[in-house]
């Protein structure tokens, strides 16, 4: 859920991820506060 706020510093989401992962956006839900929830599904990578 993306919060409508910039904090400038901290730890990034999925810190430590080294590979690229493609995600499929399934749907979103927008809140009156400006929060936007994203529903994602990881796409399978073939190794």
């Amino acid at each position: 859920m993306v919060n409508p706020v910039v904090i400038g510093n901290g730890n990034p989401l999925f810190r430590g991820m080294t590979d690229h992962v493609k995600l499929k956006l399934l749907r979103t839900k927008t809140f009156r506060s400006g929060n936007v929830l994203h529903y994602y599904q990881p796409e399978k990578t073939r190794n």
């Binding site: 859920m1 993306v2 919060n3 409508p4 706020v5 910039v6 904090i7 400038g8 510093n9 901290g10 730890n11 990034p12 989401l13 999925f14 810190r15 430590g16 991820m17 590979d19 992962v21 839900k29 809140f31 009156r32 506060s33 400006g34 929060n35 990881p42 796409e43 399978k44 990578t45 073939r46 190794n47």
Partner: protein, 139 residues
């Protein structure tokens, strides 16, 4: 998982005070929790929850929304994934917790089949990263 517009899940010193939480969010949280059979946590988020929710559930000044969330979180099955913790403690207002020391894909699949309901990870950035890595590499 909450994330700031500039991509952070926590500010310096685990700061989460920037989370935008209102009544609409709390209602959504309760609805979502009611559809979940099992909650997964990493150590850091688990400790935050363990410190906050049982206390909030006992505190007469806690809002109605939070009391409801405290109750649902107490009732729901909670699994903590940690190699650091050796035990997880249950108390009369903090039940249904267990510890798994190593996240194996087969074990997760089995839990998913057993539960029948959704499994959710709350917060737990490092655990979610591990699971995302697993999900993207298993077919």
């Amino acid at each position: 998982m909450m994330v700031s517009l500039d991509g952070y899940f926590e500010g310096p010193n685990h700061d989460l005070s920037w989370h935008v939480v209102d009544q609409e969010f709390n209602r959504f949280a309760v609805e979502q929790l009611n559809q979940i059979g099992t909650l997964f946590f990493g150590r850091v988020t688990y400790r935050l929850f363990e410190d906050y929710w049982p206390k909030a559930g006992r505190d007469p000044t806690t809002s109605k929304d939070d009391l409801e969330i405290a109750q649902v979180i107490d009732d729901i099955e909670k699994i903590v994934f940690s190699r650091t913790l050796t035990t997880v403690k249950e108390t009369k207002d903090w039940k249904n917790v267990r510890l798994i020391r190593e996240a194996q894909p087969e074990e997760i699949k089995r839990l998913k089949q057993l539960s029948g309901k959704d499994i959710a990870i709350f917060g737990s950035n490092d655990l979610a990263t591990n699971f995302l890595r697993m999900a993207s590499s298993t077919s």
